[in-house]
């Protein structure tokens, strides 16, 4: 498999704290991978760095043979690296449909049209309906985003990301705050979406059932450093990882 994302020597300080410490990662195309690590390990910062949301101090990010280290975040999204958020990032006054529809307008480059009626774009409407259908939110498309249950806001957040036709999908704790049965549903949903849309998925997660259940590669970040990388069976038995994060009694 070819490499879609090559991160070399990525480095970031916040004042005196070394949040990302010379991280090297190469992500294979089509891979489903997880990033795990204790709170404050720099997982979300890592996403913020590679999506261009905050500038890195050193190192490079190469996506599909193109250096995107200094690119603006919206440009990186247009190139196909899209993220969903730890705390669902929605347009709360808008309906579920409109949340996704705005992403569809962006996807079809119709967002700058200034005199056309916003609903006039058939391709965007159909794409929105298709995504909502696929992700299982179509029946509540007319609800406001603020009226959704917590689990559904997380799903809507992912739906918005998917609408942008990503090649790489970055998910920041897709099951955060969910009940156990919702987590299992989310796990199956992610696996299904990953295969259906032929994505390269990277997710940050604390739920070990999910991490060891669906990830092909697991990367462990501790205090900004990548301390281990490999398939689930390898990580499960990795001495340093057990000591730093997993703990003996869990497994």
């Amino acid at each position: 498999m070819s490499v879609i994302l090559e991160i070399k020597n990525l480095d970031k300080h916040f004042g005196g704290i070394h949040v990302t410490n010379h991280v090297n990662i190469s992500v294979k195309k089509g891979e489903m991978s997880a990033i795990i690590g204790p709170n404050g390990a720099g997982k979300t910062t890592f996403f913020n760095l590679i999506t261009g949301f905050i500038p890195s101090d050193d190192g490079s990010v190469v996506y599909e043979d193109r250096d995107i280290t200094k690119e603006r975040p919206e440009k990186i999204v247009k190139l196909g690296m899209v993220r969903a958020f730890q705390v669902s990032s929605l347009f709360l006054e808008e309906t579920v449909f409109d949340n996704v529809y705005l992403a569809a307008l962006s996807n079809f480059r119709k967002n700058a049209k200034i005199f056309a009626d916003r609903m006039a774009f058939k391709d965007a409407r159909e794409h929105t309906a298709f995504i909502l259908e696929k992700i299982g939110l179509f029946h509540c498309k007319d609800l406001k985003a603020s009226e959704l249950s917590h689990g559904d806001t997380k799903i809507l957040d992912i739906a918005i990301a998917l609408t942008l036709n990503p090649k790489i999908l970055l998910l920041d704790e897709p099951t955060a705050g969910m009940a156990p049965d919702e987590r299992i549903k989310m796990m199956h949903l992610l696996k299904e979406l990953h295969e259906f849309f032929q994505l390269t998925t990277i997710f940050i997660e604390h739920d070990m059932d999910m991490v060891f259940g669906i990830a092909e590669t697991i990367r462990v970040l501790v205090q900004g450093q990548l301390i281990a990388e490999g398939p689930p069976d390898y990580i499960r038995q990795h001495e340093t990882v057990i000591e730093a994060y997993l703990g003996k009694e869990v497994l």
Binding site: P73, E94, L102, S106, N111, D117, R118, L143
Partner: protein, 321 residues
């Protein structure tokens, strides 16, 4: 059915402002309603920034004033034949200036943006005062002539203003309902997400800023013709404040709300102003009532009532399949 509901405010708008002419309440009142019409364009243009994009500019008087001064000075310099063209030039001037001010101020957010817009507007106000030979200082510009077509009775200028404002309002209405308008409305709700939809927040805000300034400039130019005189107060901060008041009282979340706000503000000045010079006190009372009782403004009342019903019906919506 939905179409009719969409156009109902437009029908009310036309019926009210043209109906006034049929009732014919006398020159004084027609002049007064003409002011409401012009203010309403200023307020609706401002609300594209304020209610839609979520940018509280406290310097919109600058663009209103630029529109008025450019129009007034051009008429003084060349005569009134091309009055309409001068209004457009005034608006273009306002848009031109707003581009550079927007470029700088939009780098900041929240209160810092607000204060910087105020600073620029006050700077321009100070300049119009000082540059006596160019702007007429605190005398302003007097006796701005109107083209022959529009002279003789206030009704002609009323109709002229109404047509210009209606066209501008329609353009703004279309913009609000366009994909671009949706983007603006969502920038207010969650700018971070807009970035991660692949859209540039800053560029879209700048576009909104320039469009808003353009139409505020049109309103300023129209006002120059209404009274035939303009003065530096048009650029002073209370004029910027009036835009915020009109939009807030009328309903910043609605398109036509600021029109109602313009009517209330002008009406209060007229009615209470007859009895006391402290008429602006009554504005304070109205603002208090609106903010405390209907935070979404006068036109927002209905929507608030609708939402309450919905909440009673279903407190938590479970939508998982």
């Amino acid at each position: 059915m939905k179409k009719l509901k969409d156009y109902l405010p437009w029908i009310c708008y036309f019926v009210f402002f043209l109906g006034i002419l049929l009732v014919n309440p006398g020159t004084h009142y027609i002049h007064l309603v003409a002011r409401v019409i012009i203010f309403s364009l200023y307020a609706v243009a401002f609300n594209l920034l304020y209610g839609t994009t979520g940018l509280v500019s406290f310097g919109h008087a600058l663009f209103y004033g630029i529109g008025a001064y450019i129009t007034g000075m051009l008429v003084k310099a060349t005569g009134p034949e091309y009055f309409l063209l001068f209004i457009v030039l005034g608006a273009a001037g306002a848009a031109f200036v707003s581009f550079f001010i927007g470029l700088l101020t939009l780098r900041l957010t929240g209160i810092y943006f607000t204060m910087l817009t105020l600073a620029f507007a006050q700077l321009a106000w100070g300049l119009t005062f000082k540059l006596y030979h160019f702007t007429g200082g605190d005398d302003g510009i007097q006796a701005i002539a109107k083209p022959a077509m529009l002279t003789g009775g206030v009704t002609k200028y009323y109709l002229f203003s109404f047509v210009v404002v209606a066209i501008c309002m329609y353009i703004l209405w279309r913009i609000r309902r366009s994909p671009f308008g949706s983007v603006l409305n969502c920038i207010r709700q969650n700018p971070q997400r807009i970035t991660f939809l692949g859209l540039n927040v800053y560029k879209n805000q700048l576009k909104a800023f320039v469009i808003s300034a353009f139409f505020a400039g049109v309103a300023g130019g129209l006002y120059a013709g209404l009274d035939g005189s303009i003065h530096p107060d048009m650029l002073h901060w209370p004029t910027s404040g009036n835009a915020i008041l009109m939009a807030t009282i009328g309903g910043m979340g609605t398109f036509f709300g600021p029109v109602i706000g313009a009517g209330i503000l002008t009406g209060l000045e007229e009615i209470v102003g007859k009895y006391t010079e402290y008429w602006s006190f009554s504005i304070g009372v109205v603002v208090l009532i609106v903010v405390l009782l209907f935070p979404r403004g006068v036109l927002g009342i209905k929507r608030l009532a609708g939402n309450k019903n919905k909440e009673e019906k279903e407190t938590e919506v479970v939508c998982n399949s």
